[in-house]
Amino acid sequence: MIVLLLFLVPLIGGLVSFALKDDRTAKGWALLVSFVTLALAIWGNSVAGTDAGRAFQGAWMGSLGSSFSLQLDGLSGILTLLAAVAYPIILLATWNSTYKRPGNFFALMLLTQAGMIGVFTATDALLFYFFWELALIPMYFLCSQWGGERRIAVTFKFFIYTFAASVLMLIGLLYLYFQTPDRSFALQSFYAIELPVSQQSVVFWLLFIAFAVKMPIFPFHTWQPDTYEQSPTAATMVLSGIMVKMGVFGVIRWVIPVVPAAAYSWGDVVMSMSIIGIIYASLIAIQQNDLKRLIAYSSIAHIGLMAATLFAETESGWQGVMMQMFNHGVNIIGLWIVVELIERQMGTRKLSELGGLAQKAPALAILLVIVAFANISLPLTNAFVGEFMMFNGIFTSTITKYNELFAVLAMLSIILAAVYTLNMIQKVFFGPVNNLTANATDIRFNEKLALGVVVLLILVFGIYPQPLLNLTGGFVDVILNKANVAHLIVK
């Protein structure tokens, strides 16, 4: 029941919000709804949650072999938690932004959250597809209505890209449906399929492209920097913090366990793509002058590492991915908050026009530096634990012959991340104060609060990551065992 409520609360909250006209009321309502969702998510994932509460099954479109079934397990638990934690932070951090037609804005935000929670918890392929689109459509409206100058064209590119890929995924799911022993879209039936290797490859690409576009990994990433740049910052936070995890999630839940042999035989290709993406995106990030684009490219690099680790298929690597999905979400939202604050005060995001902010806004500088360290994954920050486990996972992988090469190349990402992140800090916060930054003031209470929560999460999970590991531990074993059995058959 909790899992159903987790989906229904933001959905209904969002629909109600369409009727709200006043700015304050709409914001307050959205914040309230997001806190209720957060409470539900914590309850559902904690010991207090029962197994009955974590699963829900309802009748829906039985004639098509589909049912309305949701479930909270290790994987969906951690991602739902991320979606639930991120929303209050986002809403608090952007509290001072004003929007035209605020009721609609927050309604679409909440509907997106409902869609994403649906994607993470659905255990029925058709339902999963429904939620996948339900998360996309409100996001499309959010970005094209409240975004920057080039928003219409850019968001449209994003939409068409994702939609085209997702209909291919639909074919893949439909094809799998006809291979299930009991003609059902249920996840369990999908896991029971044993396809011949040649068919697995076709299905693998049909499914994987949808997730690769969403993550995005090289060469499917071209929509991403533009969209991040042009979207309103609150929407960018949702996109980069939570929505990209839908891609990683999709691979873990719907690709590798369903077509393990194809994931094995195409693993090297995907890992190469990911690693090219890591280096390519990091190099471009170094060149960027725009803060938003810099962070966008840095996000491609981080996600690329997760994708590569997924296909290395080692236990410690996957544990790292699970943690990093949560941590990356928190960290990148922290970075966006800083960008939002700078842009609102200075009216620019250009590195070349900023400088000397540390003298004017010391609190902001301290908080940003911690978030930035997490972005480079220094020890004692949350990202270190996750990334270390991922590198370890790639290095010890037995399913690829090039594990050492891949690991070394992937590790370059840390050095490159240090280059662009420290460069950013230097240009924004240090150096001489110029005309623009001379009048800067420090951040307000609500912004301190939001950033403070982010920093707290970074430090807590950097020093004591065990709770996150516990949440996902059992789950990883189950999936990987299934995949390993398939590899033995192929070999």
Binding site: M61, L64, F141, I152, I160, V167, L170, I171, F178
Partner: protein
């Protein structure tokens, strides 16, 4: 059978209504009343209550498939009357006659859905087409309307000629007009029969505007008065598809291998031409004309597959597509500037109407939670069962293309600002009907069983 009799009688009643009823309001009310009566009669027949019993000597079979489609057509007609009947006044002076012609079209629809003999197929298609030729030319002083009417008539007659020739050849090969009467010796299929089948395939492709037989469609749809284009592109096209389906499922299903590849090619070509050409249109009306070709491509997949999924899916498709297109046209008719730019800033001025239009457009584009998605889904499902995954991949890529032109309208309405004030004649009744239709679109998209249930009970 009752559906056929009552719609013909309604047509006659409307013809004479002009003599006694003086005001347009009363004529309109009578038409709406008659279409409600028709719906009730068909529904009763679907539940097994026959008001009149007629022996059709096996030439018509009003099974649940036929009746369900007739019901869909009649409900669509009612929606069409509720939304657009006021705008029909502006077309010309023969107001009651337009209603009469539409009821005659419904009679044709009933025959086309239920025929069991090729002769009745011919009758049904013709009864459906001839009133349409008149409606296409209803705006007598407009040159484009005249052109549309003539073009439609010539092309229609040509394809009817093909159809008759095909029927004659089939008769020559088998000695019967009856759909159930074909017995095949699979090892030795007469050339005459194949030739007849091909001619029928081409003639039906003409009627449903499948490529490469689609050339008349954009000009006719564009030239005809918009109110009637709306009806032409929806109910009539869907009825032609139902006839197509019945013809091929019941008489040629056994020799599928002979024509399957050809239908596959027609399907792919229709999808390609409809979608790609629609991308380049500047006028919403012309875009909808090409979109109707594109949607026909999807419905062709049902003809390709011919299984039970295809049957269910085609009915759902007919309902989803008709309701959405009638809704969009109803608003389009009221617009002065019918280009995409004419819709700039629409959402600001008419938020509720804009929201319903979004639902219709999402449905046409096949986005989940709308009826359009499920009907496309059923088509894909039916085709995958037939084992042709490449046609399915091609179809969804084309569906992705279609998002481009449907969303252009959404962008114009929501994201582009404009200073023009749209003086639209929108009554509260119109608005509520639109909301109702949008609600049905979503309900069918979440619970398709509401509709398909009736196919089996």
């Amino acid at each position: 059978m009752n559906a056929l009799i009552f719609s013909a009688l309604s047509g006659v009643a409307m013809m004479f209504a002009g003599i006694w009823l003086r005001t347009n309001n009363s004529i309109r009310s009578l038409a709406i009343l008659l279409s409600l009566v028709n719906i009730v009669v068909t529904f009763l027949e679907l539940r097994g209550v026959h008001i009149v019993q007629v022996n059709t000597a096996g030439m018509l079979a009003f099974d649940s498939f036929a009746l369900l489609f007739i019901l869909i057509a009649q409900v669509s007609t009612l929606v069409f009357f509720l939304l657009s009947s006021r705008d029909m006044e502006k077309v010309g002076r023969n107001y009651p006659d337009y209603f009469a012609l539409i009821f005659f079209i419904l009679a044709g629809v009933a025959i086309s859905a239920a025929f069991q003999s090729l002769l009745l197929l011919f009758l049904g298609i013709e009864i459906m087409s001839i009133p349409l030729y008149i409606l296409a030319g209803a705006d007598k002083r407009n040159l484009k309307s005249n052109e549309a009417s003539l073009k439609y008539f010539l092309m229609g007659s040509f394809s009817t000629g093909l159809m008759l020739m095909g029927i004659a050849l089939l008769y020559g090969a088998t000695g019967t007009f009856n759909l159930q009467g074909y017995v095949y010796d699979l090892a030795n299929i007469p050339v005459l029969l194949i030739a007849g089948l091909m001619l029928l395939l081409f003639a039906m492709s003409f009627k449903v505007s499948a490529a490469p037989f689609h050339f008349w469609t954009p000009d006719v749809y564009d030239g005809s008065p918009s109110v009637f284009t709306s009806y032409m592109a929806t109910v009539v096209k869907a009825a032609a598809f139902i006839a197509f389906m019945r013809l091929f499922a019941e008489s040629f299903g056994a020799i599928k291998t002979e024509w399957k590849v050809l239908v596959g090619i027609i399907t792919a070509a229709t999808l390609f031409i409809g979608n790609i050409t629609a991308v380049f249109q500047q006028s919403v009306k012309r875009m909808l004309a090409y979109s109707s070709i594109a949607q026909a491509g999807f419905m062709m997949m049902a003809i390709y597959a011919l299984n039970s999924d295809a049957k269910e899916g085609l009915l759902l498709y007919a309902a989803a597509y008709s309701l959405a297109t009638i809704g969009i046209f109803a608003v389009l008719v009221k617009m002065k500037d019918q280009t995409f730019d004419g819709f700039n800033g629409f959402a600001r001025q008419q938020p509720l109407v804009a929201a319903t239009l979004v639902i219709f457009l999402l449905s046409l584009a096949g986005i989940p939670l709308t009826a359009g998605f499920l009907s496309k889904f059923m088509m894909l499902r039916a085709t995958i069962v037939e084992g042709n995954i490449w046609l399915v991949v091609f179809a969804v890529l084309m569906a992705a293309v279609s998002v481009y032109y449907y969303f252009r309208l959404i962008q114009a309405m929501y994201f582009r600002e404009s200073n023009q004030t749209l003086a639209l004649d929108i009554t509260p009744g119109f608005r509520y009907t639109l909301v109702g239709v949008a609600a049905v679109t979503i309900i069918l998209g979440v619970f398709p069983n509401v509709l398909t249930y009736w196919l089996y009970f």
